[in-house]
């Protein structure tokens, strides 16, 4: 995985709305005198910088690479988020692991200009289903992997539905991510290991999922954004008779409720 790309998707991916501007940004910028430069203080002569960035191809499968190509004029410092400072004109090959907005900032004496290009990465193992209903389609749900990285599963002790200390910490991290992505609704699945009885384990799984829900609600996430489903000992993650397998099954699992 490309390290730069990893850092990129950690930063909030809120620039999707700028996507349509990506290639046209330079064209829409005024080529004449910058209104800001008309003021009495700054040097009137410095021309405004221009910048554009393209990616070829715009859509790749996971593991393939894409060539970024950027051009700027009248700029002194050009940075691309996640890559860092780069030459004012240049190309670079990247392999993002997720669909990524490459955000270029060009600073010059005449001001600052931005340009974007979005590279779509098709992840074959976990294709993202289309939004199930219209109410979700307007918001930014982020990516599944970003979600799972920030909202990890929480695991429980044997026959217990109390959150462990590590799970409490994870819950506050999860709450921060969910606060930053208000469009995400969460489904929490409660699971148990395969020992004991099916009916009791379903109730226990419900208690586990509700414990995780309570932690998120106490951290400020609206209860209406969270749905809870207990699977008990149905649909086991693994079926070995070992403590490590049992532990993996004793969990509350978070996913995006689409």
């Amino acid at each position: 995985m490309n390290v730069a790309a990893t850092r990129l998707f950690k930063s909030p991916v809120l620039l999707a709305s700028l996507l349509t501007l990506s290639l046209a940004t330079g064209c829409h910028k005024k080529q004449g005198p910058d209104p800001n430069s008309i003021g009495p203080v700054t040097a009137p002569s410095a021309p405004a910088p221009t910048a554009s960035i393209t990616a070829d191809p715009l859509s790749i499968d996971l593991g393939q690479s894409v060539v970024l190509n950027w051009r700027s004029q009248n700029a002194n410092v050009v940075t691309i988020d996640g890559i860092g400072q780069v030459n004012v004109n240049g190309t670079q090959t990247v392999s993002p692991s997720n669909s990524t907005n490459f955000h270029l900032t060009a600073k010059g004496d005449g001001g600052t200009v931005e340009a974007n290009v979005r590279v779509t990465v098709n992840v074959p193992v976990a294709p993202t289903p289309p939004p199930a209903d219209a109410s979700n389609s307007g918001g930014d749900l982020g990516s599944d992997s970003a979600f799972h990285q920030n909202v990890p599963d929480v695991f429980f002790d044997y026959d217990s539905f109390e959150l462990r200390p590590d799970a409490t910490t994870a819950a506050s991290q999860a709450a921060a991510y969910l606060t930053a992505h208000p469009a995400i609704r969460v489904i929490i699945d409660g699971y148990c290991d395969n020992r004991g009885s099916a009916e009791y384990n379903l109730a226990l799984g419900e208690n586990r999922a509700n414990s995780a829900k309570s932690a998120l609600v106490s951290a400020g996430i609206a209860a209406s954004r969270i749905r809870v489903v207990s699977f008990g000992k149905e649909k086991q993650f693994c079926s070995d008779e070992t403590e490590s397998c049992w532990q993996q099954n004793r969990r509350a699992q978070f996913s995006i409720d689409r």
Partner: protein, 444 residues
């Protein structure tokens, strides 16, 4: 405390056996050995009449199996009975049957034939010790000439004999067992005859369904099924052969139980955020909550004798334990003193609760999950299964003499089979192949 009680039982048991009592009694009296010694009964193969004779072996085997499994007879081995096959009372030489080696007290015999596309069966029961007026029972049956009808006719005749000789308790040979059949990642509600014959699907939902419970009048099956919003109580009508309404509620809803009057359903619902026992009508309406402790509360079952009490499983103190309360939520009593107890089933006479119990449950602890029967009034218990792998979901037969349960010899859920045994733990045998789970015996 419990182990001390158990030692006392063992002592009493030793005392009973050493005093050579005529009847060997259970230390918890389950009624299996009610009254005198088991009646020694001989079952003659029925005499074939006209027509198709392929149904006769099915009838003979079913009748023999019904009487052998009834739990009240000492059945004469077929190798000891006379070699004649009497088909009518006139052909019956009762002295041959009462003499050694058969030494039968009762003899069942008759004839079977196919006439005009109908299976005609004449069955008789003779008292071998009453040479002058030996006839106890004479029945004639007419049914379709097919295998299922041959089995059902045998069940009816067996139930007549069991009713006459078993202290007036109706036999169970015509009852059904509802259960979960797991295959291909799906779990559907299935049904079979009490002896494992005639296994077939009831629901075709393509989902994971659990905990089937047949209504007291045999018209509906309540169960819980996994949908988008988790497990919900569902209802299937055996009269309409389709799903009927049971209103969905929030949270996980599971383990329904019918009240004996058929008007209420108790089940576990977490609509309040915590799994509690609720009671509603049979459409899911007028629901009221009757438990209020944090922690899992599941698997309620009504006292079928009174309808006034509920036994259920609660994890309010940690590991799941067996509890009993009144149906208004008062009078809560904890019944088990430790371990991991699940899946109660209340006996039809109200005296006992059968349940699955792992008394040493815990990570790395030895011991297994076995079927136990507890006498409600005294909290004394006996263990019915031993060292046979994990057992769960006991369900009483309506005559209180049998318990069906699920067992997996190697502990793996996918190898679960349905078994049956007498309520004293004897005569265990499997009813289903692997993939059978959660048996529920019909009320009649």
């Amino acid at each position: 405390m419990q182990s001390a009680t158990r030692k006392l039982f063992l002592f009493l048991l030793t005392l009973l056996s050493t005093t050579a009592l005529a009847t060997a009694q259970d230390n918890v009296f389950t009624g299996t050995n009610t009254g005198a010694d088991r009646i020694r009964i001989a079952v003659s193969d029925f005499k074939p009449g006209a027509g198709d004779t392929t149904l006769k072996p099915i009838f003979d085997a079913t009748l023999y199996s019904d009487l052998a499994n009834a739990g009240i007879f000492d059945i004469v081995s077929k190798s000891l009975i006379p070699q004649t096959t009497p088909g009518t009372p006139a052909e019956m030489a009762i002295a041959q049957w009462s003499a050694a080696p058969a030494s039968a007290a009762m003899v069942a015999f008759g004839n079977i034939s196919v006439q005009g596309g109908k299976l005609i069966t004449n069955g008789f029961l003779f008292d071998a010790n009453n040479a002058q007026y030996p006839q106890v029972l004479a029945k004639q049956y007419s049914d379709n000439a097919d295998e299922n009808a041959a089995r059902q006719t045998a069940h009816k005749f067996a139930d007549e004999i069991i009713f006459r000789l078993g202290g007036g308790v109706a036999g169970i040979a015509e009852t059904k067992i509802f259960y979960i059949h797991a295959a291909g990642g799906q779990k559907e509600v299935w049904q079979m005859d009490y002896d494992g014959a005639n296994q077939h699907a009831v629901t075709h939902l393509g989902a994971i369904s659990l905990s089937p419970r047949i209504s007291p009048d045999n018209t509906r099956v309540a169960f819980s099924s996994l949908g988008r919003d988790g497990f919900q109580i569902r209802m299937y009508s055996l009269l309409l052969n389709r799903m009927v309404n049971f209103s969905a509620a929030g949270g996980t809803n599971l383990s329904p139980a019918w009240s004996p009057d058929g008007r209420s359903i108790a089940y576990s619902s977490s609509r309040s955020g915590d799994p509690e026992i609720w009671i509603s009508d049979t459409n899911g309406a007028i629901a009221r909550r009757i438990t209020s402790f944090k922690g899992p509360d599941v698997s309620p079952v009504f006292n079928p004798k009174t309808g006034a009490q509920i036994a259920w499983i609660s994890g309010r103190t940690g590991l799941p334990q067996l509890y009993i309360m009144d149906t208004d939520g008062s009078g809560v009593q904890r019944m088990t003193d430790g371990g991991y107890a699940t899946s109660p089933s209340w006996s039809p006479n109200g005296q006992f609760v059968a349940f699955a119990w792992n008394r040493k449950y815990g990570p790395g602890a030895p011991g297994g999950q076995d079927i136990y029967v507890m006498e409600v009034a005294s909290k004394r218990w006996i263990q019915l299964t031993h060292d046979g792998g994990r057992c769960d979901f006991p369900s009483w037969s309506p005559d209180g003499r049998h318990i069906a349960y699920a067992n997996t010899a190697d502990g793996r859920d996918e190898h679960m089979k349905i078994w049956t045994m007498l309520a004293d733990g004897t005569q265990k045998h499997a009813l289903s192949s692997t993939g059978g789970d959660m048996p529920n015996w019909s009320w009649k």
